[in-house]
């Protein structure tokens, strides 16, 4: 009897309706799959200080590229008839003692200082990965000797070396970068070594070794790429310290060539004006402070995003 009933039911298309798209996976419990970097970016975005820092840096970068290009004033164009102007419509930050537009000079100085920061960070990354990678990966006596060398270099304030280097090689942009790199690579080397030391004991490193990967490949492809988080954080922190060192050396009077208006140079030039035109002292100091602060905030934000235990 029941079979006959079933036979009578006609399955019609009208009896069904399509499941709405959003309900298809409603039973599926998992987060959207995200890569390491996407996840870090999500956490980074939630950090207010880091986002403010990032926005400031983006503005500074765009400003220092575009403003000197499109401004009607050259960074070194002197006009003594308009010297020491206060901020006004034509010169948003005023003019200096030779009638040069301060906004254009600061933005041009941004090119110099930021490129010093980025270039030294890149050189440090290169040296640090090689030195720290070898020291951590080879281990044993090699590691001990390489670390003792670092200890010896590190135990003397780097500025003493930097001063000597700058005086021997003159005050060009290149020798400034060389002098800053001379000791600042140590931080990166230590970071890379510490990461490699712990990562090389992990199973994936062993697995790579078992299937016959060369030491170089294991180090570069597996260990260094897995340490990318701490490396990026260290790298970010190196840019402000390079900018700081450059400014510091300029304040000591052994900075860059006088014709190159780096931020440190600009700050040094206005030192004596504190009593006569205090407003001129404010601009370069403010720009350096804000930049260094922003980069530090970005670094802290990245450290949180990559979940690295801080000090």
């Amino acid at each position: 009897m029941s079979e006959e009933l079933v036979k009578d039911i006609v399955l019609d298309d009208d009896m069904f309706e399509l499941l709405p798209e959003e309900e298809k996976n409603s039973e599926f419990i998992a987060m959207e799959s995200k890569t390491f970097l996407q996840d870090a970016w999500r956490k980074f975005k939630a950090n207010k200080a880091a986002m403010i820092g990032l926005s400031f840096m983006v503005i500074m970068l765009i400003g220092s590229i575009l403003i000197p290009m499109f401004s009607p004033y050259e960074y070194d164009a002197q006009d003594l008839s308009i010297k020491n102007l206060n901020p006004c419509w034509e010169h948003p930050l005023g003019t200096d003692k030779l009638g040069r537009d301060i906004l254009v000079r600061i933005m041009y100085g941004g090119r110099v200082s930021l490129s010093i920061g980025v270039a030294t960070a890149a050189i440090n990354l290169f040296i640090g990965i090689i030195y720290g990678g070898i020291s951590g990966y080879v281990g044993g006596r090699t590691d001990m000797i390489m670390m003792r060398i670092i200890d010896i270099i590190y135990s003397v304030p780097s500025l003493l070396y930097v001063v000597i280097i700058l005086m021997i090689f003159g005050n060009s942009l290149g020798s400034m970068m060389f002098a800053i790199c001379l000791t600042s690579w140590i931080g990166m080397a230590r970071q890379v070594r510490a990461q490699v030391l712990s990562l090389k004991e992990m199973e994936f490193a062993l697995a790579a070794k078992v299937i016959g990967a060369s030491d170089m490949r294991i180090l570069m492809r597996h260990l260094v790429t897995n340490a990318i988080g701490p490396i990026i954080v260290t790298l970010t922190m190196m840019i402000p310290s390079a900018i700081f060192t450059e400014a510091y050396l300029s304040m000591l009077g052994i900075g860059l060539d006088p014709t190159i208006p780096s931020w440190g140079k600009l700050a040094n030039d206005v030192r004596s004006l504190a009593f006569t035109y205090p407003i001129q002292v404010v601009w370069p100091t403010l720009v350096i402070c804000l930049t260094v602060l922003s980069l530090n905030f970005i670094g802290d934000g990245l450290a949180d995003a990559f979940d690295i235990n801080k000090r």
Partner: protein, 307 residues
Amino acid sequence: MIKYIVKRILVGILTLFILATITFFGVHYMPGNPFEQDNKRMTQAQYDSLNAKFGLDQPLGTQYVMFLKSAVKGDFGESIFKKGRQVSEIIKTEFVPTAKLGAVAFVVAIVVGMTLGIVGALTKRKWLNSIITFIASIGVSIPSFLFAMIMMVLFGVTWKILPVSGLDKPINYVLPASALALNNLSMVTRLTRQSLRDELHKDYITLGKSKGLSDRRVTVKHALKNALLPVITHAGPMFANAITGSLVIESLFTIHGIGKEFSSSITNRDYPLVMGLTIFFGVLVIVMNLVSDITSALVDPRIKLGK
């Protein structure tokens, strides 16, 4: 322990030797000559005799050996620029104002930094904690000389309430010492707050509380004692920081100390003075690092030395 100390001292001496060597050859390959300014007015004979007087006519190797021999005895020869004055004597006299300023800055950094750190770790008030975090991150990020310039413009020029040069009266210390203290102050704040927070979550604190000790007693007698160790460990690097800071701070505030001497000796290419000062700074920093390492090992039995 003794083995560790001996080893550290030997490494320190090696470091100094390397620093002295680098400085010596570095200074000698610098372009320019100490007698350049006088060159126009000097006859060749005078020039030669001056060079002979300072040993600059000898081969570099001989000069280096001579330099090392006398440097061991603390003798760096006579300053070229300040005629007739011994380098060691210049260092001795110029170090007094620097040491005074440095000591004031150091005390300020430790006292204020620890207070802020302790308050930050104990307070339940969010706004207070945010202020302390703000001070700590500003102080770590802002270079001390830029902070000094801002302070000069604000307090010295705009409001005219603090003097901006010299060290004659106690009030003169306010601006340079606070500028010099800033970085270390926030360092101490961070260290104290972090380690005190960590200590307060440990089992022995729960034990102390459960056996009926007051909160204050547990915090002050037990947690704080352990929380201050990182500050001692970092005293060496903080000292180095203060030294490099003082180089620029002194020239900003026109204080005639050793930092100002260093920058002027570089501009004047006063070889003996540059070398003497570099080695002097090196010795100071190395000794301070050693002292802070050994002290923290003596105070904290958990640190095992000479592993």
